[in-house]
């Protein structure tokens, strides 16, 4: 195999893994919220962008190291989500068919955040780039892998493993899964359903924030990323099965790898539409998603 072929192959794999893990993180965040409180959070893309922009401010304008800034931003998502939950989200917990109300509510949040970004960050720059988490290159054979992306990829992988472990083995994870499956039965078994709702909203948004800061560490970005990520997260959730964390994890990775592979064997344009085409085909045969309960 020639060096050029190895370089292209390794670039495809690393790109697929990087994108796949970020897609998975965001889709898991969206799924946790949807599965517990039935909120199709259309504002997930703006939350993702908010995290990336705050990280840019903290590291570029205030001079904090991106790693420290990233921890602070993810931490800030907790009071941010709590405030939203107290002010808006909990008011709909007892509303029948609340998913429609939530969807409209999240569209409103999207508009407000987009407006705030355009009159603040939009005046400062049209694009945003952070200093690297770590510098240098690591040679994987003839392929030069940037250490910064390698670090972002490793952190994303660790986060996904931690998230999966939390949801699978921790008491909160079991309670959350019980609420996912049948909230009345969970309540009868002593699960504080409202507390699970609250925790889910906070955790889901923290995961979306984590996706945003990791993306900002690995790539330059602009406002358009909010829309791209919102659509992608919904597509992953629908294919994986709404409310299925495993589905979001697996399909997110498949999306990333498929995009990288199709972009090389066909074209980047076809790659961008390939997952939406796949979504339509899968929904024809499995309308409730591949990993639906």
């Amino acid at each position: 195999m020639s060096d050029a072929t190895i370089i292209i192959l390794l670039s495809m794999i690393t790109t697929g893994l990087m994108l796949g893990m970020i897609f998975s993180l965001v889709a898991v965040g969206v799924t946790i919220i949807y599965g517990s409180i039935w909120m199709p959070n259309a504002a997930n893309g703006q939350f993702f962008l908010l995290a990336a922009l705050l990280l840019w401010s903290a590291s570029v304008s205030w001079g904090l190291h991106p790693a420290l800034a990233a921890l602070i931003i993810i931490g800030l998502s907790v009071p941010f989500s709590y405030a939203l939950e107290i002010l808006l989200i909990r008011r709909f917990y007892d509303v029948p068919n609340r998913n429609i109300s939530y969807f409209v509510l999240s569209l409103g949040i999207t508009q407000i955040l987009a407006g705030i970004f355009s009159i603040t960050y939009g005046i400062w720059s049209d694009q945003f780039q952070l200093p690297p988490l770590v510098g240098g290159l690591t040679m994987l054979g003839p392929f030069p892998m940037v250490n910064n992306r390698l670090a972002a990829m490793l952190i994303a992988a660790l986060l996904l493993v931690a998230l999966f472990t939390l949801l699978r083995y921790h008491r909160y994870g079991r309670a959350l899964r019980a609420v996912f499956q049948n909230r009345e039965a969970a309540a009868l078994r002593g699960v504080d359903v409202r507390a699970v709702y609250r925790m889910s909203f906070v955790l889901g948004n923290a995961v979306v924030f984590a996706g945003g800061v990791l993306f900002a560490c690995a790539y330059s970005f602009d406002f358009s990323i909010a829309w791209t990520m919102a659509i992608t997260a919904f597509a992953i959730m629908i294919i994986g099965g709404p409310g299925s964390v495993l589905g979001a994890l697996v399909i997110g990775m498949v999306f990333g790898l498929t995009q990288a592979a199709v972009s090389i064997f066909a074209s980047p344009t076809i790659a961008a539409f390939s997952y939406l085409g796949a979504m339509l085909v899968i929904l024809l045969f499995r309308p409730s998603g591949l990993f639906a309960r």
Binding site: Q127, F143, S224, S267, P268, T269
Partner: protein, 394 residues
């Protein structure tokens, strides 16, 4: 009866004189519809920052005041259209101006042509804005297909028969640049390979950067949109493309700062830059004032909006009546022969309102947190129809 008539006639004449004097003192109103919010807000607010500096200069005592009525179009063609209609019908502006996006400019262009409102476009490069038959639209920025023409000429001068990779985002502006580049490349003996198009919203180009490297080109023309432009550039450099192989068709301040120190040695095209070899005294003053107010040097966007205000001042000063009559204003702009106050580059318009075009190519020398240094390495002027621009881009 006779006496009464005389008094009436005198009164009427007096009223006429007074009303004419009042009219002469009324400011000339220009509708400035630009992108102050939503995705293009950076460009619109940068443009207004340039305009504000010009407003400090163009209204000295004794001259008829020119008033710019600035309205946000929210980066939306429908809003740009609605604002144009409002400015035309309600505010009765003498001319429209302001957009920094081809999409909003096209919406205003349709309105201006249909309703015979002069329209001076500071920053919008889509060629069809000045398609044959255009009468009321005048564009200050060269058209995007022409930029491609200029890139091909620059590369051919650097290395005849060079192999050029083109890697670009799927936006009308980028497609127009590539169309012009490909057209002129075939005439100049350049080989375009590979040509890679990215859909809007792409985040990663590692795989395509590897494909470019495998093709071993002499130059890589990089035309990414927004944040993707820096990602694309970095990923090409990561994979081993040298900085002096990279050509960006355009470079505004934020782009150059984001490309950063690691892009020292790469090239970018522009129409104005703080580092140009020959800035006029006014140009140097403009750069200094802009830097003092905005903590960064201006780029061609701010310059074109600054220049637009000066063009309108010149039109009003040299053509009595142009401030009150749209046809006279239109004819005055059409016949204008002037120079950019900041760089001395000539400004004339052809029969379609397209400008005699030009482009600089700069090579980055150093990038600091708030500033950068670059060196002018190439300059070219051309007639807008030196290539079949309106056939290349429909």
């Amino acid at each position: 009866m006779k006496r009464q008539s005389r008094i009436l006639a005198t009164g009427f004449a007096l009223a006429l004189v007074l009303s004419t004097t009042a009219l002469a003192q009324e400011p000339v109103k220009i509708g400035f519809v630009t992108e102050l919010t939503e995705p293009w807000s950076f460009f619109g607010t940068s443009c207004v920052a340039g305009l504000k500096l010009a407003e400090l200069q163009i209204n000295p005592a004794g001259k008829r005041k020119i008033e710019f009525i600035t309205i946000d179009n929210q980066t939306r063609p429908d809003q740009a259209l609605a604002a144009s209609r409002n400015l035309d019908v309600q505010s009765k502006v003498i001319a429209l101006s302001g957009p920094t996006s081809s999409d909003t400019a096209l919406a205003m262009n349709g309105y201006a042509e249909q309703n015979k409102v002069p329209f001076v476009v500071p920053v919008a490069a889509f060629p069809q804005l000045t398609k044959p038959g255009t009468r009321y639209t005048f564009r200050i920025e060269p058209d995007a297909a022409g930029w491609g023409y200029a890139i091909a000429q620059f590369v051919a001068k650097q290395k005849p028969s060079a192999k050029v990779a083109v890697i670009y985002s799927d936006f009308a502006l980028m497609r127009a640049i590539v169309a012009g580049l490909k057209y002129q490349a075939s005439k100049a003996g350049l080989k375009i390979e590979p040509e890679i198009l990215f859909p809007q919203g792409t985040s990663d180009a590692t795989v395509q950067a590897a494909q470019v490297r495998a093709a071993n080109p002499d130059y890589v023309v990089v035309i990414g949109a927004g944040g993707f432009d820096s990602t694309l550039t970095n990923q090409l450099l990561d994979i081993g493309i040298r900085t002096d192989q990279i050509i960006h068709p355009f470079g505004i301040t934020t782009q150059v700062k984001n490309w950063g120190k690691r892009s020292v040695g790469s090239y970018y095209g522009t129409f104005f830059d703080a580092n140009l070899d020959k800035l006029t005294a006014e140009g140097k003053q403009f750069v200094d004032q802009f830097r003092a107010q905005n903590d960064r040097p201006p780029s061609y966007i701010e310059n074109y909006c600054f220049v637009t205000a000066h063009i309108i001042r010149e039109v009003i000063d040299k053509n009595p009546g142009a401030g009150d009559d749209r046809e006279k204003f239109r004819d005055a702009v059409s016949a204008l022969k002037t120079k950019e106050t900041t760089s001395g580059i000539p400004i004339t318009f052809d029969k379609n309102g397209a400008r005699k075009e030009y482009m600089y190519f700069m090579q980055i020398q150093d990038v600091q947190a708030k500033d950068y240094k670059s060196k002018q390495v190439f300059y070219i002027e051309w007639d807008p129809e030196v290539i079949p621009v309106y056939d290349l881009i429909k």
